[in-house]
């Protein structure tokens, strides 16, 4: 029955194609080459076969990855169903969280907050689902479209709508938290904005329209905060990271590191000293894995928070240590990067080594 469901989605896409109406809004301009030059290369290696699943357990497209304060690792992925797995710090499958809940349809990212709650970001249901560490649903934001209306009007692949509703998303992409527990959402494919909620889930503010100016977005795809509460938005279609202050005022744009599919600020969430913080930005290989783009995409940049590039590592590819379309990164420890990758259905544990050259 589950296969019937995904097959049906395929049918809708076929219908859309037959009509010559591939929804442009879900598609982006071709991946661009990063313009930064003379960037030192940071030596790195991948831990071989780090993630270990028992027989009968598979991950699909690895869309989201995050660690908690104890080193547990969460992977939010698209298998036959969208599922959320927990792994031990040694990469061993521990358990599944949230299977079959109303908010899981099409994974996009996962984040862990300061209390080790797990936030699943699902672009299929337009919802954020907050789980306790034990896997209990604590809060949701956004609402899945009423299925009754859909029965007579299958939406298919949908399109940009810019609805900008306070408590509804348009294929939101990611979530981040500041030291006060405020919630920041990058929203998304069908809206073009950043939304702030307080820790009780109440709407505070939203900024952004579709476009290429300051505080305009073309698919805000990933979001992170630093210890001061600044917000880093991976403005994927515009090939830049926009930096906003805690009230969502524009501060800066970093424009030389390609199309940021995934952004990450080291140090982890919560009211503790994070140490010196770094920003990681993935100029990911496009998700259809085109051969041409493999020549100039796939690398990850390590930057100072002010945008100064420290170095880069990796390239597009499917060998260990190469990156097969990074969709999310965890960088709680700035020298240990976990990647969730769409192609090759995998995640990797990457160790960064000293001596950029």
């Amino acid at each position: 029955m589950k296969r019937a469901g995904s097959g049906f989605a395929a049918l809708v896409i076929l219908i859309a194609l037959a009509g010559g109406a591939w929804p442009a809004s879900g598609r982006l301009a071709a991946q661009t080459k990063a313009t930064a030059t003379n960037v030192p290369v940071i030596p790195h290696e991948a831990v071989p076969n780090f993630f270990k699943n028992p027989p009968g357990i598979y991950t699909g497209e690895n869309m989201g990855i995050a660690t908690n304060s104890k080193g547990a690792i969460y992977i939010y992925h698209r298998a036959n169903e969208t599922r959320l797995f927990e792994y031990s710090p040694l990469g061993v499958f521990v358990r599944e969280i949230g299977r079959g809940n109303y908010g899981f349809a099409f994974a996009h990212s996962v984040r862990v907050d300061a209390e080790d709650n797990i936030w699943a970001v699902d672009e299929g249901t337009d919802m954020l689902i907050k789980f306790s560490p034990a896997g209990k649903v604590l809060m949701t934001i956004g609402r899945r479209e009423d299925p009754v209306a859909m029965l007579s009007n299958m939406p298919g692949a949908g399109a940009f709508h810019g609805r900008n509703a306070n408590y509804r998303f348009g294929r939101e992409t990611d979530v981040a938290f500041d030291q006060q527990g405020n919630i920041f959402v990058s929203d998304g494919y069908f809206d073009a904005r950043v939304v702030k909620y307080d820790r009780t889930g109440r709407f505070v503010k939203a900024v952004g329209t579709r476009g290429a100016g300051n505080l305009q977005f073309n698919t805000p795809h990933s979001i992170a905060t630093d210890f001061q509460g600044n917000v880093y938005v991976g403005d994927r279609g515009n090939a830049r990271v926009q930096v906003l202050d805690n009230d969502l005022n524009w501060k800066a744009s970093y424009t030389t590191v390609g199309n940021p599919w995934a952004v990450c600020v080291s140090g982890g969430p919560g009211p503790k000293n994070p140490g010196k913080q770094y920003l990681y930005v993935s100029n990911s290989w496009p998700d259809s894995a085109p051969a041409a783009a493999a020549e100039f995409t796939g690398e990850v940049y390590k930057m100072e928070l002010d945008g100064t590039i420290i170095g880069k590592f990796g390239r597009a590819g499917k060998a260990p240590g190469e990156f097969a379309t990074i969709h999310q990164m965890d960088c709680r420890n700035p020298d240990v990067i976990y990647t969730a990758e769409i192609n090759d259905w995998r995640a990797q544990k990457i160790l960064l080594k000293a001596g950029a050259r």
């Binding site: 029955m1 469901g5 049906f8 809940n101 109303y102 349809a105 649903v137 899945r144 009780t200």
Partner: protein, 354 residues
Amino acid sequence: MRRLAGGLVVAAALAAGGALAAQTAIPEIPFEANADLLKTPPDVFLGEVGGVGANSKGQIFVYTRTGHPYATLGDNRTFARNGSRLFEFDRTGRFVRELGQDVYGFNAAIGLRVDAQDNVWTIDAAASQIVKFDPQGRVALVLGRKPEAIAVRTAPPAAGGGGRGGGGTPGAGTPGSSFSRPADVAWDAAGNIYVADGLGTNNRVAKFDKDGRFIRHWGSTGSGRGEFNGVKAIAVDAQGKVYVADAGNKRVQVFDPDGAFLAEFGNIGTPRAMCLTRGVTPYLYIAHAGDDDGMEDAAIYKVRLDGTPVGRFGTAGKMPKQFGLANSIDCRSEDELLVGEMTNWRVQRITLKR
């Protein structure tokens, strides 16, 4: 999306208009809430709670949306299946069992009621069906028929909604059980069945005898007496008077058992759920949400059967003692309610203080 826009307009009007002043005159009822009542096994999750109800033993039944229906593919009938589940809990909130596994019409939960004989009735908005489970969990009666096939981006929604019906005049419905997104069910002392029908193209109340034989229906689309704009909830008092929550018209209309208009009252916001107490002096609890997300403007009103307000409690939000689209109320005990919410995926046990 269209509904959302409408909801925002309503919310804005409420915030700006005199309705707010009228509300503040109603006293606040002090109350406590247990927002962590129901304990599910690790692999069972409540989604949007379409309906909650308790039986005479205090057992709690929850009809909840657990996913979207899947559509079959490749046959000459594309029909929907899955999407909702029915769970039973004991009075302390401990999970007991699931009922109705893999039945034909559990697609989009919209309501649940427990009758005087402890039968459990589920109302489904996508299957446009009402299913009666006896206390042993067997299917005892099915009203309405699930559409044999759903349209895939071709036809507009069929009038009538249910089964091979669909020929009815919009706003009136076809005599019988061709429901269009039915939303609630109630019974009189003789066991006659009253269906709130509903949120689709019908705007009517349909009456059946206790065996499910169609007796009559009344109502059409509009804002006059006996007309409805979204029939969301229904209740019947000991005298057989029928109370109908006319959500879009922001009022409750009262009818005699044959459908003759008796009275109407407002000042209860947009009524989305309703429950009639069974004590010597009965009251109506009416859940209001002024916006479609349940985050701006919400409360539950307690009113006398003539519409005189007694008090109100609760606000909109996601915290305990707040409501996110309360869609169902159980008031078997006048001072201890069960409230099921759509956007907060939970049931709260509310204890009112007098």
